[in-house]
């Protein structure tokens, strides 16, 4: 009798059930776990890229491949354009945190404003990436395509460094990894737009909290986080 009543007691310890041990809402935990798995996917791609670079004797020099600012300078400005892209993405991450912060205060108008800023930042980044891809494509790089051996001399540190295999691996991995990242940015923008519409409709106002803004915020910051690594390993190292 006594034992049964003990079993019936509601347990209150953090790991005994009855309440969330991490004090995180279910959807948010699931977003975190999704991002963890996504981080593994991106890690695998970048690690394969690293293994390829380690195995090759030479590799296209980023300062020579990426040295144009579309519409301003064709040559001689390494890293400037990607610097602008990086700034745009960090900036849109900041506007996203500001939207989350406004959500905590349940300030609907401010959430709408910052969400719009974030979406604009996302579109700007995607536009820049489209230009970057077009530029590299015009140079002759694409999945399965590289410029001729003669043209490739412009993209390696020294003319005798030219390696067709390394150039092809670079082209394939650049388009695959930045493409996969760009796809994440695109889906992030779409999700942000959905959340913006829900905010305008007052869905979160009625719900009493803006947790959905936090969840898409996590996704958006993750996209920024991946870019930090892509930027380092493709443009700097």
């Amino acid at each position: 009798m006594n034992a049964v009543s003990q079993l019936d007691q509601v347990k209150t310890g953090p790991w005994n059930g009855g309440r969330s041990p991490w004090s995180v809402e279910y959807g948010k935990i699931m977003m975190w776990f999704f991002l963890l798995s996504d981080a593994f996917t991106f890690s695998s791609l970048l690690i394969y890229y690293g293994a390829q670079r380690f195995s090759k004797l030479t590799w296209p020099a980023p300062d020579k491949v990426f040295q144009s600012i579309p519409g301003i300078a064709e040559h001689g400005a390494p890293l400037v354009f990607v610097g602008i892209m990086t700034f745009i993405l960090i900036m849109s991450s900041v506007t996203m945190v500001l939207a989350v912060e406004a959500g905590h205060r349940r300030a609907k108008k401010e959430v709408i404003g910052w969400m719009i800023a974030t979406i604009v930042g996302g579109f700007m980044f995607l536009g820049c990436q489209a230009i970057e891809w077009t530029h590299l494509h015009h140079d002759g790089f694409w999945w399965g395509h590289i410029p001729s051996a003669e043209e490739l001399k412009n993209f390696f540190l020294k003319p005798e460094d030219v390696s067709l295999v390394a150039a092809q691996q670079f082209a394939n991995l650049f388009f695959t990894i930045t493409g996969f990242h760009g796809f994440h940015v695109f889906s992030g923008v779409v999700i942000n737009i959905i959340i913006l519409i829900m905010t305008i409709n007052g869905t979160f106002e009625r719900r009493g909290h803006y947790l959905m803004v936090e969840k898409v915020g996590l996704y958006w910051h993750f996209v920024d986080l991946v870019w930090v690594f892509v930027f380092t390993f493709f443009y700097l190292v």
Partner: protein, 117 residues
Amino acid sequence: MSEHTHTTDEHGHDDHAGLSKGKIWKVFGILLLITVIEFIIALVLIPKGYMTQHIGNYVYIVLTLLKAFYIVAYFMHLKYEKLGLQLALTVSFIFIIYFIVLMLIEGGFLNIHMMNH
């Protein structure tokens, strides 16, 4: 209904008001500063020979991890979550560290192998 959900302790952020606007801009400043340092290394220090590309690569990776820390800890709010969640999300990367070591050793071996042929 909405009152009920708001009073449960499911909302971790209710314990602390989240990041203040000042803190957000401070973290933004740090991220921007780190990026500017990376640019100075890439555009000035390495071309002028103050730093070798080899040393530069290590510095880039350290700075990148620092940026990642600031994004995850502050923007993604992980610093303010419970220790259990922090551990679950960070310790898992032990597999990635193992994979990095494994693949880079493999790549390095192939490099030596190619040089001999």
